[in-house]
Amino acid sequence: MTPLLLRVLRDPAAVRTLDLPGWDLLVRQARSANLLASLDALLDEHGLLDAAPAGPVRHLGWARAVARKHREAVHWEVAQIGAALAHVRRAAGAAQGRGLCDGRFARRARPPVLRYRHPGAESQPGRAWKRR
């Protein structure tokens, strides 16, 4: 038999027919599969949270709080990477004796990736960043 979680992921409206032990199983399956926050987002997208009983809704809300924290952490990290890359662009421009680095020089600036650690980071022959 198809696991309940899989049925709900395929057809979210299936939750309308669940009794409380059914919700219990669904929440446990979703938590073990690390999909509780995804289930919450899916049910929200389909407007099904209002129909859900209070117990499972509480668990979905708990997972939502963790997902929000993760999202904030990712946004923060992306902002840091963006700031670091902007710095690399400016450094590359400065090294070429240009005061300000506009878009033209951005093509030539390379982030400081060590090639031997990340063989896929530089793939164009002859233009690889060389280890000194």
């Binding site: 409380l20 032990p21 219990d24 938590r31 009983p53 117990g55 708990w62 709080a65 929000r68 904030e72």
Partner: protein, 306 residues
Amino acid sequence: VKVGDLQPAQLRARLRGDGLLLRTGPYAFRIRSRLAGVADGIARMYADFPLLDGRGFVDFHVQVDSPWNAHRLFRPQVRFLVDGVTPFLPLPLAQAYPMLEWGLNWCVSAHANDHLIVHAAVIEKGGRAAILPAPPGSGKSTLCAALVQRGWRLLSDELTMIRLADRRVTPLPRPVSLKNQSIAVIRDFEPGVVGNRPVADTIKGTVAHIRPPLDSVRRADETCPVGWIVFPQYEPGAATRLSPLPRSRGFMRVADNAFNYSLLGAAGFEALADVVDAAQCYDFTYSQLDEAIAAFDALAAAEVPA
């Protein structure tokens, strides 16, 4: 129907079979175990707790058992599982009951993110709660155990749950955990208290639990606002001293003791700020339980500040 209505054999059968379904505060637990120590502990500690039927939603499905590993031959162990996951390393078998209590605490503190959860005892009188956050060894649980034997309502001895929605404390009445010397202190203080057999050599030393007062269990659905935040410190021979603490310091010290403060981010900060704004903060030094109780009763009797 309450846990205490079950015969010992019925209780053991449920624990071995589909599980014992009980409610503590807002949460339903299904507890399974084949261990006699767990059944005895539950019978003594949870007699007044409501049993649930199997038709509802269960928040946490937990199991305490002895794994079939090599240890079983010469030094049997116990492990705690929640939905098949083991959040802790196994412990010696003799620690089965304390492990159940720690595990139940973990279930709540690791999940219930609609609350700011602080590692603190919390008690209520006159409709206001007193939060007692404190590091281990400060005498928090001893003080809490004594106060709830003298008219204060136990909300929780370990997890203060501040509901983000309305900044009120959600009760989670469960057995009060006592350590080392405080076990004898509370026995002398209130000989009628129901405790279970102390378990030696745990990571926290010797541990025993005492049954929560009936009134606290019955009123587990009554939330209340926070009136006071008191940081207790037991000091042998010290005079009883209650000194006001600036709210800023109180805020930081509560935040330090919160489990999910950083996870909640701005929501946690704002909830805690509201709670601290509306509460009075104190440092409290004590050595005599009777004097300590008088000091707390005086706090509760005072007018609510405008």
